[in-house]
Symmetry: C2
Subunit: 233 residues, 2 copies
């Protein structure tokens, strides 16, 4: 399964990191599964343990594996899904970025909500209601609800039953959210109201209503972005 | 600009890599710009050169910088944009993945084409025509046109003037394309025809036509995915 990798133009640790990644997919290792130890991998791949260590570091930096001291190397929860995959941190004009991300959300999320309305189970709807309620509590208390809010949208994406959406949506939403710290009470109440509209539409499997509710929900964000004169760097 | 970073819970090289990334954004360094040398960075950050080397390796593995031997460390073309940001390589069911990516393309790309129809300049249209012609030549010769095809869709995304789309589209398209090697002549001719419909609609700034042309174009792909019984792993 592990082939020797010495005849190749990439640097050796890079090659070995790919071999280890292949090992994870070939053996269908899951989140939390343990990798063979350094010694075994070195032997199987015909490279030194130093190279294995380098290769593992590359995989750590790509969120594929994590090292637990004294216990070994384990497969990450979402292997290969990185924190800022599109390098938003390197974009200079943050307001343009926020507007562009908003534009993308307006394209994707209403359709996601429509798909969720088609495909969500009763259990899904109850889960979504629970998260909407949690966001509502935070909003009413005037507390930071960003993370729970992202969770709400991630769940809508999950219930669309499209496996890529739950990876894509948080990236796009986090990119916007970094720049918007909503403390405004009227906006918070609007969030509660429109989140509930989304849950209700999904509950009765009404795609068109779910689509419209999401559009209305997102529009509030847009106004918030437009109001911003100065964006935090 | 560079703060000392010793009081923090993350591993030192990880912290230092973030500081170097901040340096790139703070100084607004661009693709191809050179970073200060190891010695300077070590001095400014108050860490050893070994730590700087580790930190740079982390940034290399995240496509932020590249090392040119004997010349130094340089900022990458698209800093922080990684090859497989959503870990598609780690998804076991490739057919489900291809269908899910197709579903996302069907949501995003018609709207992208509509935006391009609104916003593209005459020069943009000429560029797009050129790429469509190049794809057409490859198709007619029965040659592999995948890369040029991705370039065509990337350009449509670019002319939507949304700065995130050109990063997003190739990821989604590449995810699908890995599994579809189109050699079928009738399909190739359909690609030529529908690409041209897209260019023509954008040329006359007809958003609705551009949207419809993209939908028709993508539908061909869907049939191809559905036909696939066995997918290469």
């Amino acid at each position: 399964m592990l082939e020797s990798v010495k005849n190749n133009k990439k640097l050796l640790p890079e090659q070995v990191s790919e071999q280890i990644a292949n090992l994870i997919t070939d053996r269908a290792l899951h989140a939390g599964d343990k990798l063979p130890n350094e010694f075994e991998m070195a032997e199987q791949l015909g490279v030194g343990r130093g190279t294995i260590r380098e290769a593992v570091k590359i995989l750590v930096s790509r969120n594929v594996v994590e090292i637990k001291r004294g216990r070994g190397t384990f497969v990450c929860l979402h292997p290969g899904v990185v924190d800022d995959p599109f390098g938003f941190a390197f974009v200079k004009d943050k307001k343009k970025l926020a507007m562009d991300l908003y534009e993308i959300r307006m394209i994707i999320e209403p359709e996601i909500a429509a798909l969720a309305a088609e495909r969500a189970t009763e259990e899904d709807v109850e889960e979504l209601q629970k998260t909407a309620d949690e966001v509502a509590v935070l909003c009413r208390q005037g507390k930071q609800h960003m993370e729970k809010d992202i969770e709400f949208h991630e769940k809508v994406a999950k219930y669309s039953k499209n496996s890529v959406m739950p990876k894509l949506i948080p990236v796009i939403q986090a990119g916007v959210s970094v720049f918007i710290h909503i403390t405004d009470l009227s906006l918070a109440l609007d969030t509660i109201r429109t989140h509930q509209m989304i849950v209700d539409a999904i509950r009765v499997h009404d795609s068109q209503k779910a689509r419209e509710a999401m559009v209305e929900h997102l529009r509030n964000n847009k106004e918030k972005i437009e109001e911003m004169k100065e964006l935090p760097q």
